[in-house]
Structures are given as structure tokens and as C-alpha cells.
Amino acid sequence: MSAVSIQFLKNNRKDMEPLLNITGLTMDFGGIRALDNLDLRVQQGEIVALIGPNGAGKTTFFNCLTGIYKPTAGELLLTPPGRKTSRLNGLKPNRVTQHGLARTFQNIRLFPNMTVLENVMIGRHCRTRAKVLGAIFRNRKTVQEEKEIVALSLSILKKIGLYDFHDEFAKNLPYGAQRRLEIARALATDPLLLLLDEPAAGMNPQETHELDELITTIRDDGLSILLIEHDMKLVMSLSDYIFVMDYGKKIAEGDPEAIRNNPAVIKAYLGEDIDDA
């Protein structure tokens, strides 16, 4: 995306119908308020980062958003371009994924004893139809569908750079490749919005650089991305917009420039490697 259109987006953030619009999201765990009245928006085609110190509630936020936790209060609205708005609150995780949100996990959750290709093929599950009888009788429709699943999954693997490993068990991949495989698996669900939970964690600088490029490519394909990340360099270079959380509350939002200079953010991080960025 060109610099001009990004500028346009930034100027018009408030006016456009956002892809994802979250208002008043609150989550209580037996008396402890993990998320407190959170508002957050993601526009179509944006890379949005969610940052904050450890324990700020970022992953909890993802879990609420993807239906793994049931939020105590709040509205989660998804408006795909040119289509009706749908509410995501209270939906089961699989329904959320069907609506077009796909995620990765902070502590990698691949299917370790399945091959790389199969891991990606699982991502196609919610976009395919074959039932038990189809599986037993292998009618033409099922066979065709199965072929398409394999082809599409392989093409995703190619894009992500894991094609050569497609017959390996997921557990045998190196760490960085596992993280990429999680992204590939999420992409296979045809998402509108990709939720990445610390994708660069544990990666070396080379891998992080490749990840940066990968995420940009994905965005250029028309997906929006919401990203939790601790690597400030990556966040600053990638993001169009940043939200900062601390103790379950949003403490700041803005473009990378604004966040870099926000005193509240600096205070929250206590001068933690913000200067590196």
C-alpha cells in the first residue's frame, strides 16, 4: 500500500466503517478484571498492533475476541467490506473463524503429530463441506473438494516458504518455521482479519526480518492484521496504528510516531527498550 493511502486511512480512521469494531470489552475472572472497558477498531487493510507490558491482558483480549473466553460485557462487531455487520460476542471459536477471524497462538499450538501439509489442510475445514457419507463413498464432489484442499494448502505453503517441508511432522520443524506454519494454517481459513499473537517471539533477527516481509505480503493481498508483539522494532516498522494496554485498560492509541512519544506509554514500559525502536 502506498504511503498516500496509508495517510488517507489514518486521516479517515474515525469516519470509515471499521472492519472490526470493539466497544466496551470487559472480562472478569472471578473478581479480577482482566479487561476493562476496551475500545478498539481495525480498518480494512490495516496492520494494527496491540502492545503492552506482560500481563496487560493482550492474550486475554485475543481469547475474548476469538470466542475462547466469553466476555463479561462489550460489543464485538465485524463488518466485512460490502457486507452486513455481524456480532461476534458469545459465538463459539469455530463460528468466529467462519466469520473471518483467524489466529495464531503465543505458545505455538500446532498439531505436532500431523504433517505440515495436513496442518494447513485443517485450516480449510471450515470452508469445505464433505460429510461422513461423502468420505466413505468418495463421490466426485468429495474427491474434487479434497483435490482443491491439497492444491490450495500447497500454494499457501509455497507462499509461506514451507513447501519443501510439507511431508515433515509439524513437531520436527525448527521454531521459526513452526511460527510460520501457524500463520499458514490461519491463512487457509480464508480470513478477513488475521490475529497474530507474538509471531516474532523466539525468532532470530534474520527470521524476524523474513516475518516482517511475510506480514507485509499478506496485508498486500488484502487482509487486515491485528498483532500482539513485544519486538518494538517490528511493531514500529509494520504497524499502521497501535493500541497500548496496561492492566487490562487501553492507555494509548495512535500511529507509531504518536505512540513513541506518548508519556503514558513510556511510563508503562518504564523506559523499557522503547528507545530501540
Binding site: 475472572f29 472471578g30 475462547i68 473466553y69 497462538f105
Partner: protein
């Protein structure tokens, strides 16, 4: 009213036995999250050891008080030894395995121990010596509550108090609670988690053995199979009260014992076990955390 009171005591007796077994389930579950399927077998082994020891002692002509004390000690020691060994062999190697592996291992252990006793001893019911005499002072109440019922109730109460003291106030108890809360954290602060787990198994098994001894003396007969049903009932009780919670196990046991007694008394005992199993299924479906347990949220 008399009938009600009679049934009430009958329920209490049952409940006490369930409680002694249920504690073992709940303690182990609290600490390593495992349904120790073989626990009912430990109870059975406790009863068998008691039978063997007391018969040998009485053949050798020991006086009754000595027999009682030695039998109690022996059955608790051996049951604890079995509990400890079972944990070391069947569960410890599986500490980091998928959740179902130790459960399958436990089922295997249960089958193994049952058949071990069957083969080593006998499949038939064996009469258990009358270790609990009929007290004279109980005579006026004999129609309502028997001497053995009284002994069971009192022993259970004493054991519960001791256990509460142990868990609340001793170092071991604190280590157990810490391990139950967060095993990794406990390890970090220098608690020897393996030891704590072993101690849990030892205590749970000894309690089950006391239960086994009491029930055998009360009902008068045992065989290798008594552990299975009693074990499942006690497990039901533990789940009812909230598995992992010690007061929960006791509460659940008394509720189960009393409902069984009243259901038999006022309805029918034909479906006694169906009733217990249905209760188990229903609690797990509608309130898996039980009465006193806390709902846990899986970390993602």
C-alpha cells in the same frame, strides 16, 4: 421418625466410608490432576491385609486390643506402600504425557491389582474377624445404631480432624497445598514435588485402608472385587463435592451416603447403583466443578 433416624445413621455410616476413600481421590486429583482409578483397589488391599494380619495374630493368640492396633497399623502401612509403589511405577513416568495416558495406566493398574489379589488369595468371599465388639453401653440403642456404626463414625471424624490439621498447619500440608496450586511454582520455591506427590499417595492410601478395615469389620466379609464399586461410589462423592476440594469430598460423601440410604428406605434399592451413576453423570454434565469446587479456566 424412628425410621428416618435409622436411615439417617445408615446413611452416615455409608457416607463415612465413602469419605475415607473419596479423600484419596480428591487429594491426588488436586495435586496431579489424575483420576486415580486404582484407588478403590488400594482400599481393597487395605481390607485384605487387615484380614490376613488379624487372622494370623488371632491364631497366634494375641489379645484383641493388640490385634486391633497391629491390624490397623499393618493395613495402613501396606496400603500406603502399595499406593506409593503404584504411583512410582504407573504414574510418575507419565507426568508429562498427554492427559489420558496416566488415566489409561490407572485403569490398567486397577485391573492388575484386582486380579493380583484374586490370584494371590481367593476369589471367594472371606469372613472378616469381628474386630469391633458389641459395646454394652450401646445396647439400648442397638436397634437404631450398631456399635460398628458408632466406631466408624467416630474414627472417621477423628481421621478428618487429623487430616485437616495436617494440611492446614504442618510443613508437609503447606507443601501439598502449594503443589496443588501450581506445581511449577512449587518446584521453583524449592518444594520437592515428587516427594509431595508420594506423600499424598501415602496419606490417601492409608486413609483408604482405614476405610477398608472399618467396612470389613462392619459388614463382615470381603473379596477382591469390593474396591471397584466402593471406588466408583467414592469417586462420585468426590466429584459431587468438587474434586480437588477436601471438605468437598467429605460433604459429597455424606450427601451420597444419605441419599442412597433414603432412596433405599423410601423408594427402592433395586436401582441403587443406577441412581449413584446417574448422579455422577448429571453432576459432571451440569456442574463439573461440584458443590465446593472452583471452575477452572484452561490457559491458552
Amino acid at each position: 421418625m424412628d425410621y428416618f433416624i435409622e436411615l439417617f445413621f445408615s446413611g452416615l455410616t455409608r457416607g463415612s466410608i465413602y469419605a475415607l476413600i473419596a479423600l484419596g481421590y480428591t487429594m491426588v486429583y488436586g495435586i496431579i490432576g489424575l483420576i486415580n482409578f486404582a484407588h478403590g483397589e488400594i482400599y481393597m488391599i487395605g481390607a485384605f491385609t487387615a484380614l490376613i494380619v488379624s487372622t494370623v495374630l488371632s491364631i497366634f493368640g494375641f489379645p484383641l486390643p493388640a490385634i486391633i492396633i497391629l491390624t490397623l497399623l499393618a493395613s495402613a502401612i501396606w496400603a500406603a506402600a502399595y499406593g506409593y509403589t503404584v504411583e512410582k511405577i504407573a504414574y510418575q513416568p507419565l507426568r508429562n504425557a498427554p492427559r489420558l495416558s496416566p488415566l489409561i495406566s490407572a485403569i490398567g493398574m486397577s485391573m492388575f491389582l484386582q486380579n493380583y489379589v484374586l490370584l494371590a488369595q481367593t476369589p471367594d468371599f472371606l469372613p472378616f474377624p469381628a474386630l469391633i465388639p458389641d459395646f454394652d453401653f450401646m445396647e439400648p440403642y442397638a436397634a437404631t445404631i450398631g456399635s460398628s456404626d458408632l466406631v466408624i463414625l467416630v474414627t472417621t471424624a477423628v481421621v478428618m480432624l487429623l487430616l485437616t490439621w495436617l494440611i492446614k498447619f504442618t510443613r508437609t500440608g503447606k507443601a501439598m497445598r502449594a503443589t496443588a496450586q501450581d506445581r511449577k511454582m512449587a518446584m521453583l520455591v524449592g518444594i520437592n514435588v515428587d516427594n509431595v506427590i508420594s506423600i499424598t499417595f501415602i496419606i490417601g492410601s492409608a486413609l483408604a485402608a482405614i476405610g477398608g478395615l472399618l467396612i470389613a469389620a462392619h459388614i463382615g466379609q470381603i473379596n477382591f472385587y469390593i474396591g471397584f464399586i466402593a471406588g466408583i461410589k467414592a469417586f462420585t462423592a468426590a466429584v459431587l463435592g468438587g474434586i480437588g476440594s477436601i471438605p468437598g469430598a467429605v460433604l459429597g460423601s455424606f450427601i451420597l451416603g444419605l441419599t442412597e440410604a433414603f432412596a433405599t428406605g423410601y423408594v427402592s434399592s433395586d436401582y441403587e447403583d443406577v441412581f449413584a451413576f446417574s448422579l455422577l453423570v448429571l453432576i459432571l454434565i451440569f456442574r463439573p466443578a461440584g458443590l465446593l469446587g472452583k471452575a477452572t479456566i484452561e490457559k491458552v
